[in-house]
Amino acid sequence: MAAASSLFKRYALQKASPGERGVFQQYWKHRHLFLLLLPGLVYFIVFRYLPIYGLTIAFKDFRFLEGIWGSPWVGLDVFQNVFSRADFWEVFRNTFLLSIYKLIFGFAPPILFALLLNEIRNAFYKKAVQTISYLPHFVSWVVLGGLFIQFLSPSIGPINILLKAMGLKAIYFLGDPKWFRTTLVVTDIWKSMGWGSIIYLASLSNIDTAMYEAADIDGANRWQKMRSITLPSLSPVITIMLILAVGKLVNDNFDQIFNMYNPAVYSVGDVLGTYTYREGLENMSYSYATAVELFKNVIAFALVYSANKIAGKINEYGIW
């Protein structure tokens, strides 16, 4: 990591030499750097740009015998079909609300967790806490779905047994529309917090220790050091993570919801992913599923673009 960045600095700092040495020569000079870029470039062209051609089936009546190219264009008929469904907008709203809740409540915990871990001095204890916090990330929602049904049960779940012992009413976390979203958000935070903190821990370890030493000499306490050194140093990473998170606003966690929802909470828990799964893929309606995905991506693009603009106004970090 460090070697690569110093290498980069060395190349980047070289001024383009004046005279007849053209752009091409510049490229040639840095050919090894471009070689490093090649695999990534090929990946994006093959797996990200070429399939865009397949998106055209959102505007076509896709016929097997004619293929993608030969299928007849139908203009916006497929989209009309999507938007005219009675429950499409309800599902769209659910997707959005769930994601916004997850962003508001789920964005800060990994950062706080990383900061707390960073303050721990006992290396063994720190490692143990870290490892345990990563575990849920590796357990699939299929397994967790079954576990949570038991764990959150109004009659045999430990949380409700506790509530009842305190004289409160039991809560049906997975069967009550009022509680279902909360349950989804909290379980998602529990699952992803440890894993999400890795990137922040990595950038914490990159902060120059000389600054802390200088602060010590100035007599700063821990709290002041965190406020004046740690958080400002983290801010670029936080900004970028936030922009990426905004882009994921239209993505629902299909696995989580599919394994935890039931008809009683469709009104708050049915999202675009589960909806297209039931509507599109099971019925070979490729055009339909593609149209929904395309619609999602257009919105995601708009969100990322505006988030980046706003971030650029506030500070100088952004994705581009």
Binding site: F62, R63, F64, L65, G67, R85, A86, D87, V142, V143, G145, G146, L147, I149, Q150, S153, P154, S155, Y172, L174, G175, N262, P263, A264, Y266, S267, D270, R278, E279, L281, E282, N283, M284, Y286
Partner: protein, 528 residues
Amino acid sequence: MKRDFRKLFLVMLAGLFVISMAWGAPGSFAKEKRIKINWVPYSIQPTDPNGEILKWIEEKFNADIDVWNMDESKFDEMVSLRMAAGEIPDFFRISKVANLGNYVNQGVAAVIPNGYLKKYAPNIYKCIQENAPGFMDYGRINGKMYGIPIVSPTNIFHLPLVYREDWLKKVGVAKAPETLAEFEKLMYKFAKEDPDGNGKKDTYGLSNTGMAAVFGAFGVPLNRWAKDDYFVKRGNRILNAAVAPELKSALALLHKWYQDGVLDPEFITGENTGGYWALSHAFINSRIGFSCSGNYYHWIPAGDYSQVTPDGKKIPCDPGAIAKEIGLVNPAMKYAFGMPLQGPNGQRGIFQFNRLMNFYAFGKQVEKDRAKMARILQIFDFASASPDLDQRYRAQWGIQGKHWVWVDKEHEEKNFLPPYDKQDGYNHRLGACLWSDMPFPPKQMREQWAYQHGLNKYGIESVIQFSLPSMVKYGAQLLKMRDQMLISIITGDKPVEWFDQYVKDYMRAGGAEVEKEVNQWYKANHKK
């Protein structure tokens, strides 16, 4: 040395003799042109292109068969993806009945000319006509035959009705209920009279699968697992079970039970908390006293009937999936089977899964190649329904004496030989997969068990077991409405009277269109 040679020679001769016996006299196919066939069967394991059964069938029918294996969990998606990429197989299975219409709309399925099935697949034709009359029609769309309907031999049995026998004793009831009224009394006892004797109020009568017994008593085939549309006939009108008028009374009753704490309030998240779909954890963990979870064979207790080993020893049968779990968790538990309940109108009934399971269809290009279509039908007929049991079982399970042996040929009871008894789908590897289930009356011990328990009586089937274009279009949305309605009325979120409003909404959301199409299809195909 010399003697060795003679021995070898004799062995080879004997081998040749056996092979020629197995092959039988070369059929009429040897004289014809060799045909190349792309075939998409049901597959659990990839087929070896040199599998011995595949080779045997290829020689017997003078064809080169290229078997395309598809992952069962995403079968139709994989097949249609191959087609979307421009490769259309000659003969393919359609795992979801609803998709036949999609393939026909896509123009990739060939029309099967009238009389072809009867002529080239006589055994299949006869079997379906005799045991599933009227099912042939399901393969027709707009009057043309596109699909060979695959009818399940065992979906002639309805959902199981299972009671806690030890609880029955505890609350002083002699035998399983026969009527809905008796059933209701029993459910209240299960919920109120502490049948598990632990002094706590922690038991319920039933949860979500058990409701099927209540709906059935009102003459409505409904079940939580049913993802397809089920239709009932009222007068001369066919309507969706989800809007059957009797449903209102059934829901009123269930709502009362919910309020009185007889219906498990956690029926919303279900009886099953993960793992194998048929398990009812609520039943296994003594939370409820009645369940209709899974199928009859999941509940068969170990040793309820005997199986015979190849060397003639009688051994008790293996337990079904649910019986096995009960044996692990609560071996002292006793349960008993009951009959479908007699409802207010004097009829008994309960949900029964559709017997129409899959279709087989031909790729468009075979329409012009009649010789190929005939040959494929002959192979399919031979492997699925040949009256010569030895030959049929060879085409389905491999070589007798090597992969399996007869235990009781009369009852079609066979045993797999080690190591194949532990290898699920070994026959698909050999190429013994060019066949499909046929609705022959089941003769095996397991099914005899079901007959003895009366599981073939009083089941309510859907009067239409097929998918029409409008069902494909509105299916997911209507299913969502149905499930939301069931839950909100039972839990009292909406009053029972709201059912009438729901029926109106349902009809507006596409239900009316489906009903119209279904009735048209029914009239056209059931000339009375």
